[in-house]
């Protein structure tokens, strides 16, 4: 039974992959590019040590983003506000870390806690609005994203939080080396794998443990499956909503840290602000399962990194975004189709069993 479940959950991503590859091939043919050249160029570059390192680094970011989204998904909460939560979390972490003179472990612990706290607080606004005022979290988190961008631009452009960090780039003061987590160059001699990779693996394990081995996780999954049944069995839904949103926001707060502590050391105006949306897609691909999400994150990161070389072949790298969009659409559709067929075959087997009973009676 378990094997069958695994098989059916793999069918949909497989269909998604095949269909989107086929569609991409059609696009490539229509612009007179050679499909084999493009795919083999993506594969060859994508499997080079340098690209593998970049891929792992990007996957770390995507993994955290998708985990944050999927905590909410488990309870049918849509946290579209990961963007706002992580940019504010990263900014706060950058400000705090740049002013710390502590041993590495202590400094990084404080930095992480800051980011989680700020991310959770920003998500908390949406949680409060939902619980106390009945505002849908979908729309409030979208609004909060825009507000976060405004706050950040104000703080960096107009207050002493921002300084000139590069050529015409304003950002926070550089974090001292003792507060950085640059990682090790163990795949490619020139590029380092972010140290945060290991922390995010721990976050993934923690997520699995919390959801599958604790009372809270049980309540959360129960509420997601059937809110009314959970309520009847004594789960307080408002408390669950608030806790889930806070947790989701706390994990979201971490999303920018691999990059901040592994690369820039400063939150500047060029810090990426859209990593939250891809998290939604990856959470879907991975079906809210940490292992699935990890594979999804690696896959999407592979597409992003390996497409970087396509300019040389005269094909815009945005082909990877198109593929990602296609995969998500096809995968969600095939999940739905597979689910319907499952329901149908179950109904049929029940009907058959019942018919047999009637005959024997």
């Amino acid at each position: 039974m378990n094997f069958r479940r695994l098989a059916t959950s793999l069918v949909a991503p497989a269909i998604g992959l095949v269909v989107s590859l086929a569609a991409t091939a059609v696009i490539l043919i229509s612009i007179d590019a050679s499909v084999t050249v493009i795919f083999s160029s993506m594969w060859n570059y994508g499997t080079s040590p340098r690209a593998m390192t970049l891929m792992l680094n990007l996957a770390t970011v995507y993994f955290l983003s998708a985990l944050a989204v999927s905590i909410g998904f488990k309870m049918n909460l849509f946290n579209i506000g990961v963007n706002g939560q992580y940019i504010l979390g990263s900014l706060a972490a950058a400000v705090v870390a740049s002013n710390l003179q502590l041993p590495k472990v202590a400094s990084i612990t404080v930095t992480i806690l800051t980011a989680m706290l700020v991310g959770a607080a920003w998500a908390g606004i949406a949680a409060w609005l939902k619980v106390a005022r009945g505002v849908s979290e979908v729309i409030s988190t979208i609004m909060l994203n825009f507000i976060a961008i405004g706050i950040i631009s104000y703080l960096i452009v107009r207050t002493s939080i921002g300084t000139e960090t590069g050529v015409n780039i304003r950002g926070t003061k550089l974090i001292p080396e003792s507060g950085m987590l640059r990682g090790n160059a163990f795949i490619d001699p020139e590029t380092k794998v972010y140290g945060f990779l290991f922390i995010s693996i721990f976050v993934g394990i923690g997520y699995w443990f919390l959801l599958n081995r604790t009372r809270f996780g049980f309540d959360l999954r129960a509420t997601g499956k059937s809110a009314s049944a959970a309520r009847t069995s004594g789960v307080q839904s408002t408390r669950m909503i608030v806790t889930t949103m806070l947790l989701s926001g706390a994990v979201a707060g971490l999303v920018g840290l691999p990059y901040l502590l592994g690369q820039t050391g400063s939150y500047n105006l060029q810090f990426p602000t859209e990593w939250g949306f891809i998290g939604i897609a990856i959470a879907l691909l991975g079906r809210n399962n940490p292992v699935g999400i990890a594979f999804g994150a690696i896959f999407v990161a592979f597409l992003d990194v390996s497409s970087g070389q396509l300019v040389l072949e005269g094909v815009p790298r945005e082909i990877s975004t198109i593929m990602q969009g296609l995969i998500v659409i096809v995968v969600v559709i095939s999940y739905e189709v597979v689910r319907r067929n499952q329901v149908k075959s179950e109904q049929r087997s029940v009907a058959r069993a019942l018919a047999k009973q009637e005959v024997s009676a």
Partner: protein, 404 residues
Amino acid sequence: MTYLKSRRFIASAFTAITMLSITRTITGNGDLTSTVTIAQALVFASPIALAGLAGIWAERAGVINIGLEGMMILGTFGAGWAGWQWGAWAGVLAGIIFGAIGGFLLAVAAVTFGVDQIIAGTALNLLALGTTKFLAILLFTNAPGGGQAQSPPIKGEIPVFTLDSIVVPLTALHEKEIFFVSDLAGLVAGLFYNMSLLTIITLLLFIMTSYLLWKTAFGLRLRSAGENPWAADSLGVKVVQYKYAAVVFSGMLAGLGGAYLSIASTIYRNGNTAGRGYIGLATMIFGDWRPGGTAAGAVMFGYIDTLRLIDTGNQNVKGLILLGSIILFAIGAWMLRSSRRNTAIGFLLLGAVMVGAYFSATSFPPEVAQVAPYITTLLVLATASQNLRPPAADGVPYRKGEDH
């Protein structure tokens, strides 16, 4: 319009002008109600309004449309691509068609396959963003005047009207700074100054929507698909067809909104929508899934955006702060009469804080105005969400024959 409705409309217009006038008098900032400000506010408001209207069509038929942003992006691209080659009107048409394609994709995923609508919309946004950036590089890089991230200039123009016989005397009246009269003059003059035909079309689409969705059998059936599709089906309404029609038309409207953006800035540019699809969604909720309120929300966004962008001496944002506090006081006072005392006191306190800020600071950073519309939307949702009434089956996947 019924007698009661038109009375309510006149009363709220009167109140709005009075508040603007008080603010203008205290700040001495004529820009707040000037002809140019109002005309520009309409230009900024129209694409958002079209996105909001697009949201109304989809959600009234029970399909949540997070994909508005993607459909708008497709519209901006279509307008740039066709507009550069065959002129502005071809651009408008292409924008509408591209938007419709986005709507069709959403309908296939959300209506035929019944997948989660928010997820389908998010995927559509991703797909639209990738496709347009991809095509922009391929089609515009080597075009004369184009680039990797922008199209060549759109050829020709959409007609823009200025009625000098109205604008000139009213603008002169506006400059006399008479309480209420001058402000009303500025507002009216703004409607006849640089009025784009596309803005007029937008207005007509709003009127058409109010009529079609609320006064015809077609509209009743379409809305029934969003309220209770199972009951509608049992009465013979072809629910799936109505949902398809609504979502594709929604895509056309969002695409037109995108085309408006491209034509207003004379080129297609990557990221030109800047989240206006999401803002349109917010105005729709702000407006309780109805055209009138949605238009009002869009005008608010457009007005604040205009004041922020034409701000020369950093005084417009200050004026907005005062205007905001006056509005808060008015709502607070009105609420005190009803039984919602706590909310009323909250509004009055917030208003007092803003008045304090107005008198203690010499100027405010433009970021305040940048976030003001979003905070306003949150405030409206927080205080009025109990009174908002979304379609009952909004976001619920429907399959013929499966009851819920």
